[in-house]
Symmetry: C2
Subunit: 255 residues, 2 copies
Amino acid sequence: MEKLTLIKVGGQIVEEPETLNALLKDFSALNGKKVLVHGGGRAATRIASQLGIESKMINGRRVTDTDMLNVVTMVYGGLVNKKIVSGLQALGINALGLTGADMNYMRSDKRPVKEVDYGFVGDVKEVNSDILADLIEKNVVPVLAPLTHDGNGNMLNTNADTIAAEAAKALAKHFDVTLMFCFEKKGVLRNAEDEESVIETISKKDFIEYVNDGIIQGGMIPKLENAFDAIDNGVSQVVITRADQFGKNTGTIVK
Amino acid sequence: MEKLTLIKVGGQIVEEPETLNALLKDFSALNGKKVLVHGGGRAATRIASQLGIESKMINGRRVTDTDMLNVVTMVYGGLVNKKIVSGLQALGINALGLTGADMNYMRSDKRPVKEVDYGFVGDVKEVNSDILADLIEKNVVPVLAPLTHDGNGNMLNTNADTIAAEAAKALAKHFDVTLMFCFEKKGVLRNAEDEESVIETISKKDFIEYVNDGIIQGGMIPKLENAFDAIDNGVSQVVITRADQFGKNTGTIVK
């Protein structure tokens, strides 16, 4: 199968013009078929605040009421997505911005209310990879915003790591997929204080031990759970690295 | 050639939930291949105002500085577009939201500064209809936001009537295209006070006479110029009608 690289970048890097330009340059230089998944939480928080809408986070996840859903739909699907798409077009990459509603490529269920009501937040239910794969074959580069839809006319705010993992799993039917999660560190660190203490490879067994020992904690836990889930579902390789490093074979390889 | 209907609807109708739902229902019931082009100016004005950004209009066109470009990119490309796309998906229509940057389907030049500096406003330069036609053949329904890009990384605010006419012209190479401009009246009126005084057909010669006689004026002039330009460039038929009438063979036929 042909190789495909799916890169997920967080909010901060796509929101500053300098880091965004550097990212788009690195991404455009990457050989072969590719997909970009982006966040945008900081911009959403900033614009919500300017509109007098308070951002409420629980366990690092955004509570999304109707007003906040409008904000993230605007910011992720419009502002951030189109900045990336137009920037990639300027570099000769035939980018296409998508939310899950577009061509119904990713459908979610609104998260059930348990202890917490996250509001209009989606848990991914179904990915239609055929039309995505067809576009990728034609050298179109999908740029995926962290938004899905419920099939009943509602957009749903959806975690970008989840979008990346679900898209990678679905595209693994068509391509030999490498999934790269980019964040602010060079990889999963053995010692949070030491940027050079990158764990080179990590298995599920290692992961459980690291979590028990308190070496891996916080937002890295769901990120690695997403990574293992991707590996268990046909993705060839998952790499966790820093956004300015993804062409350089550094970072933590999840296997 | 297969028939294709391209419908342009203004801002107001897509911004109120009731009129939007009625529109999407009518649009989904329309037989054959189709494309929807939407505005969103009122929502842009409202959100700009909430963000403390003043909307400045000259000759009915929005002056688009950097802040306003961010607003229209968010509102047209995100908020309005994704409401329409998710609403159509709920009706079983495989909608795909696009700006001109997406797949580079429509590229513009920033309007040169003459008497007026409109800012980041695009004059359409090039339409790549092949990939659009290819998607339409696969029963994807493009939903076009009034935004293009300059190929150098900048989005450009672009009049929705122009987007509709340029897309219709380009798609006329692939389909037998009917272009429908929907606005708040049942058609071009002989008497602005009488909603029933619809001019049934209008030729370019009639148009010049009507303008000279002051019967046609204001925003209807560029709309009809766009219509004649479309007819001169391969579009089979242009109809000017009210958004709740487009399935009913009413309105003004431009020939």
